[in-house]
C-alpha cells in the first residue's frame, strides 16, 4: 500500500493537523502507525462497522486536539483552572453525546456530511483554480503595473499584433510607461546544448528588463549595446534550462545556435520567469519591416506610477491616430488605436470566461448544499423537540440545550469540513493531472486556504443557524404544550411556506445548473459532428525545424523536404507524405492577398505552403482542376490552389480556374508581388478551430515560394495501414537518416482534434459534475422533506386510513403536496435559466441558450427525479397502521 494512494490515511493525516505542531511532530508518525494497525484490525475482524470506526476515530482526534490546544493542561491541575476544567468536562460530555447522537442516525449523518463535503469541496477546488489562473500575482515585481498592448481597429472591433513603426512612435511619444517593449517568440531548434532541442525562445528588444525587472542568478541581462543590430549575438538563459540542458556550465563556455545565429550566453534568470509564451531563452531581435501593416510584434509595457490602463489606452489612441493619418488608406490592416489590457487578463485569455462560469456554478452548488442542509437540520430539529422539551423539564437550562445543539452542529461541520478538504484535494489533483487541458499556469494550482476558510464559514453558519433554530423557538414557548404536542409532530412545524421555499430553491438551482450543462453537452455533440475537413485516421504530423546555419537558403529547405517526402513514400508503412506550413486546427497565418493582376483588388485569406503530397496525406478532396506537379518547379509559371471557401469569397458564382492570386506581403515576393494562376480548387479545412467557419486558404507550392518554410514547416504523413504508431516510427527513422540534428515533435491528427476540444471538454465535465451533484442534493432534499412531512402527519394519515380512506388517495395527497413545491421551484428555475444561460452564449456552438429541447429534457428529468424522491415516503405513508398511529399519542 503506497501512502500516496491511501485516501483513509490521507484523511487521518489531515485530521491530525488539528493538533498543535510540536505535539504532531513528536507523535504524528506513531499515531498514523496505530491508525493503520487499528484499521487493519477492523478490516480483519469486521467490527466495528466502518462508519462507527471513522466516527470514533475522528471524535477521538477532535476532542483530544481541542483539549490539547485550548484545554487546561491536564496536569498539574491548578486551582485557578477549575472553571475551565468544568467547562472542558462539559464540552467532553457534549462531544460524546453529540457523537453518540450522530452515530445513532447514520443516514442523517452521512447525508449531512456528504452535503457539506460536496458544497465545500467543489467551491474550494474551483476557487483555487480561479485564484491561481486569474488572481494570483505573476512572478515579478509589481505585476499589476504590467500591461499588454495591441493595435485596435474600432470599425472591425478587433485587435491585431503591432507593427514596428507604430510601436516605435508609441515608445518615443508616450509618457504613460516607465518601459515599453516589443517582443516575439516561437519554438525553434537550439543546437549546442547536450542534445538538439526544441525550445521556446523569446525575441526581445530594449526595455524588456525594465518591464520585467528580474535579478539574474548569475551573469547579466542584455543592455542597450546588445540591442544594436550587427553586434555580437547574445542570449539569456532560464535557470532550469541552464541546469538541466547545459549542466550549469560556466557561461563563457556556452554558445548556442538559435535560428541561424551563434549566440554567446551572458546571463541566467530565475526559473519563475517564463514570459513570453513559456520562454526558456531570450535573445535580442530586430525589426525587419517598416510597414505599418506588418503586424509582427507583441508589445508589453510597465505603467508609470499613478497611470491606469485606461489612461495609457487613451494616450496611445491619440498617438496612433496622429501617426496613421498620413498613411495611404488600407482599412483592412491599419491600426485605428491601441488596446491596453492588464497582462494578467491577457494571459488568462480564453480560459477566463469558462472559469468564471464554473466559479458561478460552484457557488450555485454551495447554495443547493446550504439549502439542503438547512431543510435537513430543520426537519431533524423539529422532530427532536420532544426530546428537547423532556431535557428542559429535567432541569437543563436554555444555554445548556443550545450548547449541546451547537456542539452537534460543530461536530457535523468538522466531519463535513474534513471530508470537504479531502474532496477538494482530490479535485485539485485531478484538475492538475488533466495534462491536456490548456489552462494557463496550471502547475501553480494548489488548494487555496482562503477559499477553504470562506466556504467552511458559509457552511458552518448555515449548519449553526438551522441547527439552532428549533432550540431558539423551543425556549421561546412554554414547555408543557410542546411536550404534549411533540408526539403529534409539533405545533412548531413551521409554515408550509418555509418548506416550499427550501424545496423550491433547491429545485430551481438544480434546474439552472442542469440546463447549463445540458446546453454544453448539446453544443459539444454538435461540434463533434463538424467535419474538420481532414480525414484524420492514421494521419501523423511532425513539426520539423531545420538549422538555419546548415540550411542557409529557403531553397535548401525546400530541397530537404522534397528529399524527405521521397524517402517517406518509399517506406512501406506510409502511403502519402507532404510538407505544409500550417497544420489544420493549429492556426493559419492570414493576410491581404491581391487578386486578378490588380493590386487594388484583394481579399483576406490564409497563406499556406503545401506540396501536392499534403493534400493526399490529409485527405483533402480535389474539387476542380489539378494539384501541383512536375510542371510547377522553381522556374515554372507561378501557380496556386485555393480552397472552396476562398473561391466563393473571391469570385462568388464565377469559375476560379485561371484567375490570379498574389501572396500579398506574406512571402519573400512582398515587393514585386508576382501573381499566381489558380489551377485547382480543394475542399475546405478548419485551420483555426472546429467552432469557427472553415478558413478560406490559398495554397502555394513550396518549390516556387519557399521563404516561409524556413520558419513554418510540418511533415504530414498518412499511414498505409491506418496505424499512426507505425507511421510515426517510419517518419522518425527517415528524419534520423536525413539529418540527425533535427528534434521533431510528432502528434497524430486525432490527438490534435481531441486537444482542440480539451478546454470545452474540461468546462463540460466540471459543469456536468456540478449539475449532477445539484440533482443528487435536490433529490435527497425532497426525499427528506417529504419523509418529514409524512412523519409529522402520521396520526392524521392513520385516522384517515382508519376512516376508510384508500391508500392510493393518501399517497396521492402526499405526492401532490410534494409536486406542488417542486412545481414552484421549476417555474422559478425556468425563469432563472432563461435569464442566466445568456452568459453561456460564447461557449455554445450551434444552439441557442434557450434551446427548447434542453429545457424540456431537463424539466422532465427533474420532475422524474422529484417524483421518485417523493414516492418513496409517500408509499410508506400508505402502510401506516392506524392503531399504531393512534397509540403513539
Amino acid at each position: 500500500m503506497t501512502p500516496q494512494l491511501d485516501t483513509g490515511l490521507h484523511v487521518y493525516r489531515g485530521a491530525l493537523r488539528l493538533f498543535p505542531r510540536d505535539f504532531r511532530l513528536r507523535n504524528g508518525p506513531d499515531m498514523e502507525r496505530l491508525f493503520l494497525h487499528l484499521r487493519a484490525q477492523r478490516e480483519r475482524t469486521g467490527t466495528p462497522s466502518r462508519f462507527r470506526f471513522w466516527t470514533r476515530l475522528l471524535v477521538d482526534t477532535l476532542t483530544h486536539a481541542l483539549r490539547e490546544r485550548w484545554g487546561a493542561p491536564p496536569s498539574p491541575p491548578s486551582r485557578t483552572a477549575h472553571g475551565t476544567r468544568i467547562l472542558m468536562s462539559n464540552l467532553a460530555t457534549d462531544l460524546r453525546f453529540a457523537a453518540r447522537t450522530l452515530v445513532q442516525s447514520p443516514l442523517f449523518t452521512v447525508v449531512a456530511v456528504l452535503t457539506l463535503a460536496l458544497g465545500m469541496g467543489a467551491n474550494t477546488a474551483i476557487f483555487s483554480v480561479v485564484n491561481s489562473v486569474l488572481l494570483r500575482s505573476l512572478p515579478y515585481p509589481e505585476p499589476d503595473a504590467v500591461v499588454w498592448v495591441d493595435e485596435w481597429q474600432d470599425t472591425r472591433s478587433r485587435s491585431l499584433p503591432v507593427a514596428w513603426p507604430n510601436f516605435s512612435d508609441w515608445r518615443e511619444q508616450s509618457r504613460s510607461f516607465t518601459g515599453l517593449t516589443a517582443f516575439n517568440g516561437w519554438t525553434t531548434t537550439v543546437l549546442g546544448a547536450d542534445r538538439p532541442l526544441r525550445v521556446r525562445v523569446g525575441g526581445i528588444t530594449e526595455d524588456f528588463w525594465k518591464v520585467f525587472p528580474v535579478r539574474p542568478v548569475t551573469g547579466r541581462l542584455t543592455v542597450p549595446a546588445d540591442h544594436v543590430e550587427g553586434g555580437p549575438g547574445v542570449v539569456v538563459l532560464r535557470e532550469d534550462f541552464w541546469r538541466n540542458e547545459l549542466s550549469a556550465r560556466p557561461l563563457d563556455e556556452v554558445v548556442l545556435e538559435v535560428a541561424g545565429e551563434r549566440l554567446q550566453a551572458i546571463g541566467v534568470v530565475p526559473s519563475a520567469l517564463d514570459f513570453p509564451f513559456g520562454a526558456e531563452l531570450w535573445r535580442p531581435v530586430f525589426p525587419t519591416s517598416t510597414s505599418r501593416t506588418a503586424h509582427n510584434w507583441r508589445v508589453v509595457g510597465r505603467l508609470a506610477p499613478g497611470v491606469t490602463p485606461e489612461m495609457a489606452d487613451q494616450e496611445l489612441d491619440a498617438i496612433t491616430q496622429a501617426v496613421v493619418a498620413d498613411e495611404p488608406a488600407d482599412p483592412d490592416f491599419l491600426a485605428e488605436g491601441a488596446l491596453v489590457l492588464p497582462l494578467k487578463e491577457q494571459l488568462a485569455g480564453s480560459a477566463r470566461r469558462p472559469l468564471l462560469l464554473l466559479l458561478g456554478a460552484a457557488a450555485l452548488v454551495l447554495l443547493v448544499a446550504c439549502t439542503n442542509l438547512a431543510s435537513t437540520l430543520l426537519a431533524r430539529g423539529e422532530t427532536r423537540q420532544r426530546e428537547m422539551a423532556i431535557r428542559a423539564s429535567m432541569g437543563a437550562d436554555r444555554g445548556r440545550l443550545l450548547r449541546q445543539l451547537l456542539t452537534e452542529s460543530l461536530v457535523l461541520a468538522a466531519l463535513g469540513g474534513g471530508a470537504g478538504l479531502a474532496l477538494a484535494a482530490v479535485l485539485v489533483r485531478t484538475l492538475r493531472s488533466l495534462g491536456t487541458v490548456s489552462l494557463p499556469r496550471l502547475a501553480e494550482i494548489s488548494i487555496d486556504p482562503v477559499a477553504l476558510a470562506f466556504t467552511a464559514a458559509v457552511v458552518i453558519v448555515t449548519a449553526l443557524v438551522f441547527g439552532l433554530l428549533p432550540a431558539f423557538r423551543l425556549s421561546g414557548v412554554d414547555v408543557t404544550p410542546a411536550l404534549k404536542a411533540g408526539a403529534r409532530g409539533g405545533t412548531l412545524g413551521g409554515g408550509r411556506g418555509v418548506w416550499t421555499a427550501l424545496v423550491g430553491s433547491e429545485v430551481a438551482l438544480a434546474f439552472v445548473l442542469l440546463v447549463g450543462s445540458g446546453l454544453l453537452v448539446r453544443s459539444f455533440a454538435t461540434l463533434l459532428d463538424v467535419d474538420s475537413g481532414v480525414d484524420i485516421e492514421g494521419v501523423v504530423t511532425a513539426d520539423v525545424d531545420l538549422s538555419l546555419i546548415k540550411y542557409e537558403e529557403a531553397a535548401d529547405h525546400a530541397r530537404f523536404y522534397q528529399e524527405l517526402e521521397a524517402a517517406l513514400v518509399a517506406e512501406p508503412e506510409i502511403s502519402h507524405a507532404g510538407v505544409v506550413s500550417a497544420v489544420p486546427l493549429a492556426g493559419v497565418p492570414s493576410g491581404r492577398l491581391d487578386l486578378d493582376g490588380d493590386l487594388s483588388k484583394h481579399t483576406v485569406g490564409g497563406y499556406v505552403l503545401a506540396s501536392a503530397g499534403f493534400f493526399d496525406a490529409a485527405g483533402l478532396q480535389l474539387i476542380r482542376g489539378r494539384l501541383f506537379d512536375g510542371r510547377d518547379g522553381p522556374d515554372g509559371a507561378h501557380v496556386v490552389v485555393v480552397s472552396q471557401s476562398f473561391a466563393d469569397q473571391a469570385w462568388p458564382g464565377e469559375d476560379p480556374i485561371g484567375r490570379q492570386v498574389s501572396g500579398g506581403g506574406m512571402d519573400a515576393f512582398w515587393q514585386e508581388r508576382p501573381f499566381a494562376t489558380v489551377i485547382g480548387v480543394v475542399s475546405d479545412v478548419h485551420y483555426r478551430s472546429l467552432a469557427r467557419e472553415a478558413d478560406p486558404v490559398a495554397y502555394f507550392p513550396p518549390a516556387q515560394r519557399p521563404s516561409r518554410l524556413r520558419f513554418e514547416s510540418n511533415m504530414v504523413v498518412r499511414a498505409a495501414t491506418g496505424d499512426a504508431a507505425q507511421a510515426t516510427a517510419a517518419l522518425r527513422r527517415a528524419l534520423q537518416r536525413l539529418d540527425p540534428d533535427v528534434p521533431p515533435r510528432f502528434s497524430s491528427m486525432e490527438t490534435r482534434l481531441v486537444g482542440s476540444l480539451a478546454e470545452r471538454r474540461f468546462t463540460l465535465y466540471l459543469l456536468g459534475a456540478f449539475a449532477g451533484v445539484a440533482l443528487l442534493l435536490a433529490f435527497v432534499g425532497i426525499y427528506g422533506v417529504v419523509s418529514y412531512a409524512v412523519a409529522r402527519h402520521t396520526r392524521e394519515i392513520g385516522i384517515r386510513l382508519a376512516l376508510g380512506a384508500q391508500p392510493g388517495a393518501v399517497r396521492k395527497t402526499v405526492l401532490a403536496g410534494a409536486m406542488g413545491m417542486v412545481a414552484v421551484g421549476l417555474v422559478v428555475g425556468v425563469v432563472g435559466a432563461v435569464a442566466s444561460t445568456r452568459v453561456l452564449t460564447s461557449l455554445l456552438y450551434g444552439i441557442s441558450p434557450t434551446d427548447p429541447v434542453t429545457l424540456v429534457t431537463v424539466t422532465v428529468l427533474l420532475l422524474g427525479a422529484a417524483w421518485v424522491a417523493a414516492l418513496l415516503p409517500a408509499q410508506r405513508s400508505t402502510r401506516i397502521d392506524p392503531l399504531d398511529a393512534m397509540r403513539a399519542d
Binding site: 493538533f19 505535539f23 513528536r26 507523535n27 506513531d30 499515531m31 502507525r33 496505530l34 491508525f35 494497525h37 487499528l38 470514533r56 476515530l57 477521538d60 482526534t61 476532542t63 483530544h64 486536539a65 483539549r67 490539547e68 491536564p74 496536569s75 498539574p76 491541575p77
Partner: protein, 107 residues
Amino acid sequence: MIPRPMKPQWFQILLALAGEDLHGIGIQSEVLRRTEGHMHLWPAMLYRSLETLEGEGLLCRIEPPAGAPDDERRQYYTLTAPGRARLAEEAEMLGRWVADAKKAAAT
C-alpha cells in the same frame, strides 16, 4: 500532580509498561488484551495520555531495544522508577478498596 485514583487508561498504560518496554501499538494491544476487549485506546487518547504521564516523569521515551523487529523508528516507552512506585501506590490503594468492596458484598 496526577489525581488519585488516576484515570483508568493511565493506570492501564502504566500496568502495560510494567511488564516490558513497548511502543504505542504494543501498549494499545496489551491494554486491549488485559481488559478483555473493554478498553480501546484510540490514537489521540493514547498519545495524549503518554505525553501527560511523561510530563509527570512516570515514564520516558527510549530508543528501540536492540533486535527490535521494526526497522522503522518507532518510539518506545519505559516505566521510570517514580512511575513504578506510583503504579504500586495506586495498586495498593485500589487493592484496599477491592478488599473493602468484597467484604461489604459478602455480608
